[in-house]
């Protein structure tokens, strides 16, 4: 039934798949993904392991809040000193055995509350700064509890490490693991893939149309088949290229990860697992959490409605791509060169960019009003619905959204085809929005 459109699809697909650029990006992307997975934890592990990496902190404790003692950890070495502030700061500048100078005092207005001034030779990271503050705060709290008559053993026993298991109770009464961090991650990742694919492959559709128009082959071709057949052939052909590339990326990434884990030293693997948990390799507690943490991640993924997520993702991936690439095709047909296209691509991409920004808000309220309406609009649903999928979306909502998508796709393609078939034969003058509107209405 595809007929001549099938011949166009075949050309669009085969000419692209045979290019070097296709294979280079197909192989480089998984390499990049694996490198991004392996390098940061490994680097931070190496960084943490190297000699003298602990921060050396001088503390000038004017009000003796610490009572001359503070616990030193793997990453922080404290040295409590006395003396005059100005003199000590001047010494710190010259002294190469300390990285940070901390001046601890009480607030003049509230003598019970301390404050610190942290001076360092180079800018501190957020983590470093908060670990210094936290260590000092903990020590002061401890002293105050001891002073209030609480025994040291009680204090030690009272320390709690809370591990959270988030569960969602399904309608059938089943408890399902739902680590919101993991759900968040999956939603963001999937919607990002769609966002990126629409841009990459939509732009390819546009460039293809401009090429056909500027080298004038288009007139020969549309004296053989209908403009819409040519447009759909191009959109479908490039869509297939996208799907193939996407499938290859998944397979290659899995293979590369397997190969990498096999070849990597064991401690790198541990570092990666710690990193995956989100704790950061430098944190000593991370490794304790890791075992349970990884399990929780895995459990959350297993408990997802996999069929809904996968089917939904594929549907919105294709739907979003078709919808937007028809618009990109219309833009390509309306202009004579890529530089002219920019003026029109911006309004086309705004809903997509907006959806991606809104996705962050939607993630905080996946069942809110905003989430609902943005999931119904075909221009934003490919991003918003996919973000919501891991959290579970009511069936009727999903079906309504998909129906809207199909209707929206047909409508947008029909309008885009009207612009396309006139634009493709119009040369010279760059059309205005008014012209495009006329083409759309009068056809």
């Amino acid at each position: 039934m595809l007929g001549k459109t099938g011949i166009v699809i075949h050309r669009e697909f085969s000419t692209r798949v045979r290019t070097k650029a296709f294979w280079i990006s197909t192989f480089l992307t998984p390499l990049l993904i694996v490198a991004l997975m392996v390098l940061p934890p490994v680097l931070s592990m190496m960084y943490a392991d190297s000699e003298g990496e602990a921060l050396r902190v001088m503390v000038l404790d004017e009000s003796n809040l610490l009572q001359g003692q503070i616990d030193t950890s793997k990453s922080l070495v404290f040295n409590i000193i006395e003396g005059d502030y100005k003199e000590r700061v001047a010494q710190f500048k010259e002294y190469d055995k300390a990285d940070v100078f901390v001046y601890l005092s009480v607030r003049p207005a509230e003598p019970a509350q301390p404050e610190v001034k942290i001076i360092s030779k180079k800018a501190l990271s957020l983590a470093e700064e908060s670990s210094i503050v936290k260590a000092i705060q903990q020590r002061i709290e401890e002293i105050r509890l001891l002073e209030a008559g609480i025994r040291e053993e009680v204090l030690a026993q009272s320390k709690v490490k809370l591990r959270a298991h988030t569960l969602v109770l399904s309608k059938e009464g089943e408890e399902k693991a739902a680590n919101s961090g993991v759900l968040f991650g999956i939603g963001m990742f999937l919607s990002f893939v769609i966002y990126l694919s629409i841009f990459i492959y939509g732009a390819q559709v546009m460039r293809g149309v401009i090429e056909e128009k500027t080298n004038r082959i288009v007139e020969v071709i549309i004296s053989t088949l209908r403009p819409i057949e040519l447009m759909m052939g191009k959109v479908l052909g490039i869509g297939l290229v996208g799907l193939l590339q996407f499938a290859l990326w998944i397979v290659l990434t899995i293979v590369l990860v397997q190969v990498a884990t096999f070849l990597m030293p064991a401690e790198w693997t541990t570092a990666m697992q710690n990193n995956a948990q989100g704790g950061g390799a430098a944190m000593p507690e991370a490794s304790q959490v890791a075992a349970g943490g990884m399990g929780a991640v895995f459990q959350t993924i297993m408990d997802l409605n996999i069929a809904q997520v996968v089917f939904g993702f594929l549907f919105y991936f294709l739907g979003g791509y078709f919808l937007y690439s028809s618009l990109f095709a219309a833009v390509g047909a309306a202009v004579d060169s890529e530089s002219d296209a920019q003026q029109f691509t911006l309004p086309v991409t705004i809903p997509l960019i907006l959806a991606f920004i809104m996705a962050q808000i939607v993630l905080n309220h996946p069942d809110g009003q905003l989430a609902f309406w943005l999931s119904m609009i075909p221009l934003t649903s490919p991003i918003i619905m996919v973000v919501r999928l891991p959290y579970g979306v009511p069936g009727w909502e999903l079906i309504t959204s998909m129906a809207c998508m199909v209707v929206g796709f047909l409508l947008v393609t029909w309008l885009a085809a009207r612009i396309y078939r006139i634009g493709i034969l119009s040369y010279g003058k760059k059309p205005s929005y008014k012209d495009l509107w006329k083409w759309m209405i009068r056809g």
């Binding site: 011949i7 000419t15 090429e211 080298n215 004038r216 007139e219 020969v220 071709i221 004296s223 053989t224």
Partner: protein, 299 residues
């Protein structure tokens, strides 16, 4: 027998009329020239015939039936502004276009080989289009136009961009196709280039048809009774009603004359008079060129 017929075609774009009640008839196995200056409406008419655009009024008949999309497979079209996919190889490009015209791949391949050999492009068949010279690319475009053996070939400015040698090759191919029964419609603003090719012409000017008929008949219709004579005699006087327009010495003892006659004066009277004066080597009634006729019509 008529292969193509356009009836009362009207087409207006925003702000201007491109075709105003234009009708034409293309007889089977003929070569018809569609003449007119740039902007006369030739390309619009061709696009309507090719179903690329729709007319506001009027209809097109192909082989007696209202034109449908399925007829497009029996037509070949070489547009004025032409191009190819630069990154595709010559042979696969031709195969693509042939398959769009409904030719099965296997048969298309055989015919492509045949044509590539004919145009001496065989060794270029696996090269990308962008590696070919412009002339070679135009040959490829011509092959693509005729590969599926269309019954009607429409050529819009077929000789533009060709060097004289290749223009001649293409002209020969057009004549050969016509000998084999292909109907050809040829559009050009260079009117002198089609006089020898087209037995029939349609002339458009400012969106209207100004002329339609056999080339010979049209030229006779617009004749101005001018005769060109070469003879071995120095003539001073002419018979009653004839006047001398120009006189030149071709060589010693041989003169060339342009003589103005009139409609009521038979040319034989002139010839008889001249034969009595000396040896007549050449006697021809000068017919106006299409360009002259066009200028006369328009002014």
């Amino acid at each position: 027998m008529t292969l193509l017929q356009a009836e009362h075609i009207k087409k207006a774009y925003e702000g201007h009329v491109a075709l105003d009640d234009v009708s034409l008839t293309v007889p089977h196995a003929s070569i018809v020239g569609l003449l007119g200056p740039n902007g006369a409406g030739k390309t619009s008419l061709i696009r309507i015939i090719n179903q690329i655009i729709l007319p506001d009024a009027g209809r097109v008949l192909f082989d007696g039936q209202p034109m449908e999309r399925q007829h497009l497979e029996q037509m070949g079209y070489l547009p004025e502004e032409r191009g190819l996919y630069k990154k595709m190889q010559v042979e696969e490009h031709l195969l693509y276009l042939a398959r769009l015209k409904g030719l099965p791949a296997k048969e298309a391949k055989q015919r492509i080989r045949h044509w590539l050999e004919r145009f001496e492009l065989m060794k270029w068949r696996n090269k990308k289009v962008e590696e070919l010279s412009k002339g070679m690319q135009q040959k490829v475009q011509f092959i693509a136009t005729v590969l599926h053996r269309p019954r009607l070939v429409i050529l819009d400015e077929p000789f533009s961009g060709f060097d004289p040698v290749n223009a001649e090759i293409v002209k020969d191919e057009i004549l050969e196709l016509n000998r084999q029964g292909t109907t050809i419609m040829l559009s050009t603003h260079r009117m002198e280039s089609v006089e020898e090719l087209c037995k029939h012409v349609v002339m458009l000017h400012a969106s209207r048809k100004v002329l339609d008929g056999s080339t010979r008949k049209i030229r006779r219709r617009f004749k101005e009774h001018v005769f060109e004579v070469h003879m071995a005699a120095d003539i001073e006087a002419l018979p009653e009603g004839f006047s001398l327009l120009d006189k030149k010495t071709v060589e010693d003892g041989l003169w060339a004359y342009r003589i103005q006659g009139a409609e009521h004066l038979p040319p034989n009277d002139l010839l008889r008079f001249l034969i009595d004066k000396g040896q007549v080597i050449h006697f021809e009634e000068v017919l106006p060129s299409m360009k002259d006729i066009f200028i006369k019509l328009v002014s």
